[in-house]
C-alpha cells in the first residue's frame, strides 16, 4: 500500500464562491455516480442570491458529532482527519446534526444514513473542480492544530456575515 497520508484540511474562502455548484456535482458523482445536489456531502447554500457558499464538514478539533452518535456509526480517520460514516451502523437518528455547531451533516435523500464529508479519502474532488475553474474558494492544506471548528456554523449565520460583507448594511434587508 501507499505511504501513510498526511491529515488534511480544506481551507475555504466563502466570499469568492461563484455559486457554480461544481463542487456539488463532483462530490455526488464521486460518491453516488450521479449528479445529485441533495446527496452531495458539500452543499452550496444561496439563502440570498449572490451570497453562495459551500457548506460542509469543518473537521472540528473535538468532533462533537462523533461523540454524539449513539450507534457508534461515526469515527475519525487517522489517515485524513475526516469523519467517516459507517452506513450500516447509522440509524439515521439525526443526533449528529444537532451536535454539530453548523448543523452540517444531512440525511441521504433516499438511503437511511447520514452524509458527512469524508475528504474523498484524502483526494477531495470538490477542491479539484473549484481549483480548475480558478475560483479557489476551496484549497487543500495540511491539517494543523488550528481552530477549524470555528467554521462549523449554520447556513443562516454564515449568510448573515457574508451578506453584509458583499452588499453592505443594505444586505440585512434580504434575510
Amino acid at each position: 500500500m501507499a505511504t501513510k497520508k498526511e491529515p488534511i484540511w480544506i481551507a475555504r474562502d466563502f466570499s469568492k464562491c461563484s455559486g457554480c455548484r461544481k463542487c456539488e456535482i463532483a462530490c455526488s458523482l464521486w460518491h453516488e455516480n450521479r449528479i445529485w445536489p441533495e446527496a452531495s456531502r458539500i452543499r452550496v447554500f444561496m439563502l440570498v442570491p449572490g451570497v453562495e457558499f459551500p457548506h460542509f464538514c469543518a473537521q472540528c478539533e473535538d468532533y462533537p458529532c462523533v461523540k454524539a452518535c449513539p450507534a457508534n456509526a461515526l469515527s475519525v480517520s487517522d489517515e485524513t482527519g475526516a469523519v467517516l460514516v459507517d452506513e450500516n451502523a447509522c440509524i439515521a437518528c439525526g443526533q449528529c446534526i444537532d451536535a454539530c455547531p453548523g448543523r452540517i451533516p444531512h440525511m441521504h435523500p433516499t438511503e437511511n444514513h447520514i452524509l458527512i464529508c469524508d475528504l474523498c479519502n484524502g483526494d477531495p474532488q470538490c477542491v479539484k473542480v473549484c481549483q480548475e475553474g480558478s475560483w479557489n474558494v476551496l484549497r487543500v492544506v495540511p491539517r494543523k492544530d488550528y481552530s477549524y471548528g470555528l467554521y462549523a456554523r449554520k447556513p443562516e449565520e454564515i449568510t448573515r456575515d457574508l451578506v453584509v460583507k458583499i452588499y453592505g448594511e443594505k444586505g440585512e434587508e434580504f434575510l
Binding site: 466570499s15 469568492k16 461563484s18 455559486g19 457554480c20 455548484r21 461544481k22 456535482i25 455526488s28 458523482l29 453516488e32 455516480n33 450521479r34 449528479i35 445529485w36 445536489p37 441533495e38 446527496a39 452543499r43 452550496v44 447554500f45 444561496m46 439563502l47 440570498v48 442570491p49 449572490g50 457548506h55 439515521a92 439525526g94 446534526i97 448543523r103 452540517i104 451533516p105 444531512h106 440525511m107 435523500p109 433516499t110 480548475e132 475553474g133 480558478s134 475560483w135 449554520k154 447556513p155 458583499i166 452588499y167 453592505g168 443594505k170 434587508e173 434580504f174 434575510l175
Partner: protein, 622 residues
C-alpha cells in the same frame, strides 16, 4: 423511455386547481427534444386550431416551464419558458439561467404546463411528488428581492416542518414575477435569483394574467439516469477545459461590450439607435470592474464561465443599488440607448428594472422610443405626465420605468411594448411614429445593430427570425452557421446555457446529447430535419398571430426603418443597409427554409418534414 428525461410533466390548471401528470411519447421527445422545441409542439397541439383567437393574456393561454434532456448535465443550467407570446403573438422559447430546471428534474419532472387562471394570487410549490397551489397574498405586489426573501424563508420553513429528519434544507429554486408581471406589462419577465430573466416573449405578463406569482421547486432525487455516465463526465470536462481558456467571458462576462460594441464595431444602440457609435471611456469595463463589481465570478449550476459579476453601488445618490455586471444587453439598453454612460447610473437602472420585474432590453427599447418622441416634440411633457425625458436623465427614466411597471398614466401605454405603443401613439398624434420603433414582430431588437456590418447579425437576421428581434435567435445563412436560428434552437431545446458552447467543437453538443439520451444526432439531421420542423411550426404560429393583429410577411419581414438611415457618426459613418439588398436576402432565406415568395411555408416543405398535420393551417395564412 429515453434516458436523460425524468419521464413526466406536471399539468396544473389554476382555474380548477387540478394537478395531474402527463407524458409525451418517445417519438415526440425525439423530434422536439424539450424546451423551445417541445413548447412549440405542445402549443401547436393544444392551441393551434384556435391560435388567432387565443389572447396571450387570457386563461386559455398556456404557460410552460420546460427543461431539456441536457439540463443539469451540460454545464450551465437553464429553464425554458414559453407560451403564446404577448409580444409577437407567436411562440418564443425564452430561457432563464439558474437551478430551477435542475431542481425540477431532481423532483421527477421534465416540465410544468400551467393552464387557466387562479381566482386570487397563488404560487406553486413542488417538493418532489408533493405539489400544491398556495396563497400568494403576502407577496403579491412585492418586488423581486422581497419576493425571493419571503419565499426562500417560507418554503425552507415548510421543508423543515415537513421533513425535519433531513437536517438543514437548502433553499429551493424559484421563478417569480415582479409587479410588472402582475400588471400584465408586455415587457415583463419571468425571473430568477434577482437578476436572471426569461425576457424575450413577455411571459411575465402571462404569468401575471394567471395570477401566478411564483413557482418554487425542491427536488431531492438525482438527475435522471443517462445512457453513458463515463462519457458524460468526460464531456463535461471537455466543455469546461475549452471554456477555461476563453478569457473574454470569464473575466468580463459580456460587460466589456458596453464600451467596445459602441466604440469598435459601432453596432450598439445609442439614443434609440439614432447612433450606434460612442467612445465614452466612462463606460469602459475597467470602470465597472474597479468601481462596482464586488464579486468577479458569479454563475449557475455547473457553469465554468460564471460570466456574471455582482455589482453594488457603494456611494452617492444611487448607493445600495445591486445587480449583476450589468451584462452587455443592459449596459446598452439601460445605458447608451438612454444616453447614460456611467456604471453607477447603469447599475441603478438595472437594479430598478430587476426589482420591478421588467425586461431590461424591451423596457430600455420602449423608453428609448419614448425619449426620441420627446426629443422630436411628438410626445410632450404633458403626454408624459410631467416627465422631461431627456437623454441621460436616469431619474426621469427610473420614474418612467415605475409608471410602466404599475401601468400608471403614460406607463399604461408604454407597458404595451414598443410596437403596440407606436400604433396607439400614431393614432393619437395622427402621424407615423413606427419609423422610430426599433423592433421586429413586436419584439425590440437585441443590442446588436446591422448597419456597420461588423457585428454578428446579418442584414436579414431580425427580419426573418421566428422570434423577431431576439438577438439569441437570429436567422442566418448558411443554415448550419453557428449564428443560425436553426443551430440556436438546439441550445433552447436541449436547454442549457449557450455561452458554454463558444470555442467548443460543434460536434460536442451532439456527443453530449448522445451520451445523455443514447440517441445519435448529427448537425445535418438537426438543422435539416428536427430544428427545421420546429422552425416551421413557430413560423406558422407567428404568422397566424392574433387576436390584436397579424403579421404580413411582405411588410413585416423587414428591418425597422431606422436601419435604413445612414449611421450619423463613428468609423462607419454613412453606412446603412439597402432595402433592395435586404429584400433579396430575405428571398434567399425563404428559399433556403422552404417558404414561398410570400414567406409562407410551402406544403411540400411541411410534407418533407412529416408536418402534414400542419398543412391545413396554411389556408388560414392567405
Amino acid at each position: 423511455m429515453i434516458k436523460g428525461y425524468a419521464g413526466k410533466f406536471l399539468e396544473i390548471d389554476l382555474s380548477s386547481g387540478k394537478i395531474s401528470e402527463t407524458k409525451f411519447s418517445d417519438e415526440i421527445l425525439k423530434d422536439y427534444v424539450g424546451g423551445r422545441g417541445l413548447a412549440t409542439k405542445i402549443l401547436w397541439d393544444r392551441l393551434g386550431s384556435k391560435w388567432e383567437q387565443t389572447d396571450p393574456l387570457a386563461p386559455e393561454n398556456l404557460l410552460l416551464f420546460l427543461t431539456g434532456p441536457l439540463t443539469g448535465f451540460f454545464p450551465g443550467g437553464r429553464t425554458c419558458v414559453s407560451g403564446k407570446s404577448p409580444q409577437s403573438n407567436g411562440v418564443v422559447g425564452s430561457t432563464v439561467a439558474g437551478e430551477f430546471g435542475v431542481e425540477l428534474k431532481c423532483a421527477g419532472y421534465d416540465g410544468i404546463i400551467v393552464a387557466g387562471e387562479a381566482e386570487k394570487p397563488v404560487y406553486i410549490f413542488v417538493k418532489d411528488s408533493d405539489v400544491e397551489i398556495r396563497d400568494a397574498a403576502r407577496i403579491w405586489g412585492k418586488d423581486a428581492k422581497q419576493t425571493v426573501a419571503v419565499l426562500t424563508k417560507e418554503c425552507r420553513e415548510l421543508l423543515h416542518e415537513r421533513f425535519p429528519q433531513k437536517g438543514e434544507w437548502k433553499e429551493p429554486a424559484i421563478l417569480y414575477i415582479g409587479p410588472a408581471g402582475e400588471n400584465k406589462v408586455r415587457t415583463a419577465v419571468v425571473a430568477a435569483k434577482w437578476t436572471h430573466a426569461a425576457g424575450y416573449g413577455g411571459y411575465g405578463a402571462v404569468m401575471g394574467s394567471k395570477k401566478l406569482k411564483a413557482v418554487v421547486v425542491k427536488g431531492s432525487g438525482p438527475l435522471p439516469e443517462v445512457a453513458d455516465m463515463e462519457k458524460v463526465k468526460q464531456l463535461i470536462h471537455t466543455v469546461c477545459e475549452e471554456v477555461y481558456e476563453s478569457e473574454l467571458w470569464r473575466r468580463w462576462g459580456t460587460g466589456s461590450a458596453g464600451y467596445s460594441v459602441g466604440a469598435k464595431t459601432s453596432s450598439e444602440p445609442v439614443r434609440n439607435w439614432q447612433e450606434e457609435w460612442h467612445d465614452e471611456k466612462s463606460f469602459g469595463v475597467d470602470q465597472f470592474e474597479n468601481r462596482v463589481w464586488v464579486k468577479q465570478y458569479w454563475g449557475d449550476f455547473g457553469c465554468p464561465t460564471t460570466c456574471l459579476k455582482v455589482a453594488v453601488v457603494k456611494k452617492g445618490k444611487f448607493k445600495g443599488a445591486i445587480t449583476d455586471n450589468p451584462d452587455y444587453e443592459l449596459q446598452a439598453y439601460l445605458g447608451t440607448n438612454l444616453g447614460v454612460f456611467t456604471p453607477e447610473e447603469n447599475v441603478f437602472l438595472a437594479c430598478l428594472i430587476d426589482d420591478l420585474g421588467l425586461c431590461g432590453i424591451q423596457t430600455g427599447n420602449v423608453m428609448g422610443f419614448a425619449a426620441e418622441l420627446f426629443q422630436r416634440g411628438i410626445l410632450t411633457k404633458e403626454d408624459l405626465d410631467g416627465l422631461e425625458l431627456k437623454w441621460g436623465d436616469v431619474e426621469a427614466f427610473a420614474a418612467l420605468a415605475k409608471k410602466i411597471a404599475f401601468r400608471e398614466g403614460v406607463g399604461d401605454l408604454l407597458a404595451e411594448g414598443t410596437y403596440r405603443a407606436a400604433l396607439k401613439i400614431g393614432e393619437k398624434k395622427k402621424r407615423d411614429v413606427l419609423q422610430y420603433a426599433v423592433q421586429s414582430k413586436g419584439i425590440g431588437i437585441g443590442a446588436h445593430g446591422i448597419r456597420s456590418r461588423k457585428d454578428y447579425p446579418e442584414i436579414y437576421s431580425y427580419a426573418c427570425s421566428v422570434q423577431g428581434g431576439d438577438h439569441t435567435s437570429t436567422a442566418c445563412l448558411p443554415l448550419d452557421d453557428f449564428r443560425s436560428e436553426l443551430v440556436m434552437i438546439f441550445n433552447d431545446s436541449a436547454v442549457y446555457c449557450y455561452f458554454n458552447i463558444f470555442g467548443v467543437p460543434r460536434q460536442v453538443k451532439f456527443d453530449f446529447y448522445k451520451a445523455v439520451t443514447g440517441i445519435e444526432l448529427t448537425q445535418e439531421d438537426w438543422v435539416n430535419n428536427k430544428a427545421m420542423k420546429i422552425l416551421q411550426l413557430q413560423r406558422i404560429m407567428l404568422l397566424l398571430g392574433g387576436p390584436d393583429f397579424k403579421w404580413n410577411p411582405k411588410v413585416h419581414d423587414d428591418n425597422p426603418p431606422r436601419f435604413y438611415e445612414p449611421l450619423p457618426s463613428g468609423p462607419y459613418k454613412g453606412k446603412s443597409v439597402e432595402k433592395a439588398e435586404v429584400r433579396k436576402e430575405v428571398m434567399r432565406y425563404y428559399e433556403a427554409v422552404g417558404w414561398d415568395e410570400n414567406g409562407i411555408p410551402k406544403p411540400e416543405t411541411l410534407k418533407r418534414l412529416g408536418l402534414e398535420y400542419a398543412e391545413k393551417a396554411l389556408d388560414r395564412l392567405h
